[in-house]
Structures are given as structure tokens and as C-alpha cells.
Symmetry: C2
Subunit: 195 residues, 2 copies
Amino acid sequence: MNDLLRKSIEQYSGQSLSEECALQFDAFVFEKTLDKKALLLEAGQSCNYIFFVLSGSCYSYLADRKGDTQVVQFALEGYWISDLASFFSGNKSTYSIECLEPTKVLMMNKAAFEQACSAMPILERYFRVLIQNAYVSMQYRMAKTTSEEAEDRYTEFAKRHPDFMQRIPQYLIASYLGIQPQSLSRIRKQLASKH
Amino acid sequence: MNDLLRKSIEQYSGQSLSEECALQFDAFVFEKTLDKKALLLEAGQSCNYIFFVLSGSCYSYLADRKGDTQVVQFALEGYWISDLASFFSGNKSTYSIECLEPTKVLMMNKAAFEQACSAMPILERYFRVLIQNAYVSMQYRMAKTTSEEAEDRYTEFAKRHPDFMQRIPQYLIASYLGIQPQSLSRIRKQLASKH
DNA sequence: CGGGCAGATTAACCTATGTTAATAAATGAA
DNA sequence: TTCATTTATTAACATAGGTTAATCTGCCCG
């Protein structure tokens, strides 16, 4: 089993993963390598997988009312990414997922997910806690987004995610923060002049 | 067992709840009645319960940078509400929860939650699906919030939650949507003049 | 039934961010 | 290396929404 994944499972589940489980898990997933700009998922298709990023990076997005890209999530190594609504319901996905760099992912389909979770309680727990945490931080981010200005959201983002700052183009970060790239440039300039 | 709760469990878990489980569940929770404006939770305390609203309504909020109230969630009958980060970690809560009307809730503490979930697989599943759905719609709402204007967010909210519109004061809806009450008034006026 | 208070509206003015457009800088492919 | 394309910056102008402050409405409670 991949080391990043093992660490993730052990960290979130709070339990250590037996060698046996690790082998069993590996049978449920497969690996795929993608080029930069390749799509892991295209909006409108059904999302049949959840993806664990082994190396590289990607992001999910949707088309807003005007047809512009609205970034939903970034995923570097060690992150899971998918369109969960589509994955769990079987409906068409609203998000697309695109690679920002040459990327390796583990893929797990729904049948495998269900089987793995019922076969291994540690996994059921792992995924529950993972989603719980994601929900909690989403709720908090939402509250911050509706109450704070773009400058504050940007500085907080930069502080929390220095790794993202290195590897993700500014115009995508701007979209994620809900502002135009030009506005982000302006904000960065203002921040720079303050020091 | 309360009828609303039974329906919620059966709906989200996709299974029917045995009489036995229902009785067992009831032993894990207790009921509380609160006045309008009473607090279910005060920011800074540890959040020891999750609350299921039996009747009445409440909302969770935090104080933003300027000390103003930022609404996080509304809960009418049939909704769960809590500060999950605090509930699961034991840390101090960042949210407060206040009743909008005279309200009856079921309360469940963490030990009961853990026991109930391990004793009854249907509950483990129920809560997992509940949080999953909450996460999915949160993510979608976040994307909409960062890409759309206040007017669109308001009309969408009004369409999706006509029940909320009846019972929740406008200034709290404004806060939830991330705008000032005055701006919401202005937006409503514009919308009215369009028809 | 009447005074006080919470909630909603209005209006005038202000500012952060959007928009458009042009340029510059970085990246990548031939 | 050079050209083409993508990404970032800048500036001028437009606008949605914030701010302040005053007024209005309704309703709770004494």
C-alpha cells in the first residue's frame, strides 16, 4: 500500500492499519497516470470513482451562470477528490476534475468502496471522519467567506495553504476565493506595499 | 420514538427502523424545552450534545472579526444542529446556538452517540449519509456563493426554503446570505418592482 | 390600550470589487 | 533560440453592496 494513503488512514481513523487490511485494500483500487490538463472527470458524466492523489495535483470546478470556471476544491498529494453527489447517487456530475500537473491517482469505484467499508471497519470510520472534517471546515470557511473581505480570505488562504500557493496558478486561487484574477493582483500589490 | 426522527432515520439510511431499535435509541437521548432566545450552546463552552429539533426553530452563529453575528445554520423541526467540531473533538465551540421560537429538542451526548452507532449499524449509516449530504450541499452552496450575486443567492434561498422564509427574521437570512439587512431590503424592493 | 422595542425600509453617500482593455512576464513547444 | 500561448499585472471606469442615519411598522408586555 502507498505510504501517503496508509498515513492518511491511520491519522484520520486513529487506528493502525494491519498488513492484512492494507493488502486487502489494494485489491479494491487501481492506479492511473495522467498528463497535465487531462480530465479525471467531465461534468455531465456519471462520476464512478473517488480519486486519491499519489503525486501531482488537480482541482474540481463547475461552470457558473456566465459559463466561467468556479473552482470547488484543490487536491495535492494525499488528498481525496471526487464529485461525491454523483458518486453516491449515480446521477450526472456537476463538477469536472482536471490535472494541474502530470498526476498519479488511485481510483476506487462505488462497489469497491461499499465492499471495502463493510469488510474493514477501520475504513468505514476513516471515510466517516474524513467527510466529517471536510464538512466542519467547509461550514467554517463558508461563514468566513460571507463575513470577510477578499483580502482577509486571501491572507488566510495563503497562511493555511503555503503548499498550494507554490503550485497553483493565481487565477485558480482567485476563482476559489470568489474574486477576479485582476482583483487578486490588486490585493497582492496592496499587501506588498504594506511591508 | 418521535415520528419526525423515525422518518429522518428511515429516509437517510434507506432502511426501516425496527421497534426494538427505536426503543433502544430513545434510551440514548432526552428531551428539553426552551424559551425563545434561550441558548442551546454558547460559544466558548464545549459542545457536549447534538440536538434534534422536535418543534420550534433555532440557528447557529459565530461572531465575525467586527463582533457581528454571522449565521451558520438554521434548523427547523426535523433538523439536527450542533457545533460538530467541538462535539467530536471536545474543544471549545466557536458557534452559539439560539432558539428563534419556543423550542423542543432531543439531546444526545457523545458517549451516547458512539454507543448508539456501534450498537445499531442503521444509525452509523444514518449519520454518515446525513453528514455526507450536508457536506455535498455545503460545497455546492460555497461555489454558488463565491460565483453569484446577492440577488441570485436570495432568490435561490427563497425558492429552496419557503418554510424558512415564513419563520426566520430577514436580518438573519441576510446574515446567512452574507449581506446587510439594508441590502436585502433593497434587493427585495428591486425584485418586487420587476413584477 | 399605549409605550417601548425589535425588525424592516429608505435614502445618500462611500468603497471594494467587477469590467474592459492593454501590456508584460512567464512558460512551453518547435 | 524564437514564437505562441498562458498567466499576471496595471489602469480607468462602472457598479453592487456597505455604511450611516433616519423613519416606519408592528407587536409584545405592562
